[in-house]
Symmetry: C2
Subunit: 291 residues, 2 copies
């Protein structure tokens, strides 16, 4: 199963491979990642396998989406382990470009989704989403997939990428995979590796806030000011947790919502201790299609 | 000959057509234009015919590359005539999208080549090249050509587009066609339609300046300060001409040059009367590969 996985490092070679597959009528599904795979990534690969004849996973810790003082150097990496995990999941090709190949001397182009990049995380991480959209645009051009899978955990990233693809007429289907969670509800993330024994139990505060808001909404509380106060209270009850933001927004436009409805997403970011920052999100009316 | 030309207006339909042609193994060459065809455009179409099995011409007066106070409304248009001219030249498909289809409500993505967009025309037309690169990125994604042809008359535009294609790993070959000129040397341009009987003879000052600089370079004058003074003198000798800029730059990087060599391009922009602005450019050492 794992014997067949190819590894390509050079963008031009990746594109040649993709062109050959397309000429042979094979459908490529891409999973763009920054590596250090957890079960969340592996589920995206499974989903890609259901949507393409060939699954390509890109592994690139993109420097341009990290701000000054962020965790680019500390970001967890283990390419050998990632390779084995991807191969074990039936991935056909791992694309692992070098930063120099992605950003050669003279590189100077930026792809930016202007409005919805400024909300939520965009307020606290200036330039982050321009880094994301630029590298995703490049990866989509290099790998030429028919579809690409992103996790809903990165809710704003998904909205921004969908907008870019629509605005730039990129001929690719964007698929979203539901957030994969640990037993206590913590959304899986490579950055969970930063959590020590003191912080790990407190990290469940994000999911708890989400569940608590859902409970209130079920009970009829739709005022986002009240709901937000409850999030603040709950996160504030953990000694090392600091709420960066908690916002109620429309799932597609990211416009702020004052009264919760079936399109309303609660998105929140929490700082834990000195160096950990976690995000989570979810529709506040659970199972909105069933109610 | 002209009976076979298709016209498509909707981007999604254009992409479907392009995908079908690619599946059939046919190579598409695109000529992006703003219409009002002159012999320069037609030569680009001829060149496209030599590089592709199918020639697609896009005709779109892109509003986002015009600044406030520029000539968007006045820009000459004659789609009926353009259609006949393109069909007569053996073009296979004319893509004529509406502005609403290119920029639907909520559109908010920008593609920007940051450094080389700021030189030359970029200093006088803020936002112009971001408008160009965004629309060209969209057109390349919609038409999915194997190659695209641009005129060397728009020297900076060509450099900016090449940089975008390289930086974003767009899988398309960019071909340049030499500037096509009127008998007196005036570079063909749709904007030449603005020239009245008083201004038209003065419009040759751009080419005259280029030729005069080449003459000086042949004689051994390589100091760009001296060369620039000669351009100023020559343009200044015409009563309605005002030099906007004349710069000596490297043909690829657009970096300013102080001593002319085989890579040096003179790029200049001249205002004629109240509302006409013309540009021209050329290598200052003629036939650089032969000397």
């Amino acid at each position: 199963m794992s014997g067949g996985m190819e590894i390509i490092r050079r963008p031009a070679e990746m594109t040649r491979w993709a062109r050959q597959q397309a000429a042979a009528g094979r459908r490529i599904c891409l999973v763009p990642t920054m590596g250090f795979f957890h079960e969340g990534h592996l589920r995206l690969m499974d989903m890609a396998g259901r949507h393409g004849d060939l699954v390509v996973v890109s592994l690139f810790v993109n420097p341009t989406q990290f701000g000054p003082g962020e965790d680019l150097d500390a970001y967890p990496r283990d390419v050998g382990r990632d390779r084995d995990l991807a191969a074990g999941r039936g991935v056909d090709l791992l694309f692992v470009p070098d930063a120099d190949a992605m950003y050669p001397p003279g590189f100077q182009t930026r792809v930016e989704v202007e409005k919805i990049s400024r909300h939520l995380c965009g307020r606290f991480r200036p330039g982050h989403f321009a880094g994301v959209t630029t590298v995703v645009c490049k990866l989509l051009n290099i790998v030429r997939p028919d579809a690409a899978v992103f996790g809903e955990k990165d809710f704003q990233q998904l909205a921004v990428i969908r907008q870019m693809v629509r605005d730039l007429n990129m001929d690719v289907e964007i698929l979203a995979h539901p957030t994969v969670r640990e037993e206590d509800g913590l959304a899986m993330s490579s950055r969970n590796a930063y959590l020590d024994a003191r912080l790990r139990p407190q990290a469940r505060c994000l999911y708890q806030a989400l569940e608590r808001v859902r409970e209130l909404v079920r009970e009829g509380e739709l005022d986002c000011v009240v709901l937000r106060q409850e999030v603040e209270r709950l996160v504030g009850s953990y000694p090392d947790a600091e709420l960066e933001y908690a916002e109620f927004v429309h799932r597609d436009t990211l416009a702020e919502t004052t009264r919760a409805d079936r399109q309303t997403v609660l998105a929140l970011a929490v700082r834990l201790g000195e160096r950990v920052r976690l995000i989570d999100n979810g529709l506040v009316a659970e199972h909105p299609d069933r109610t």
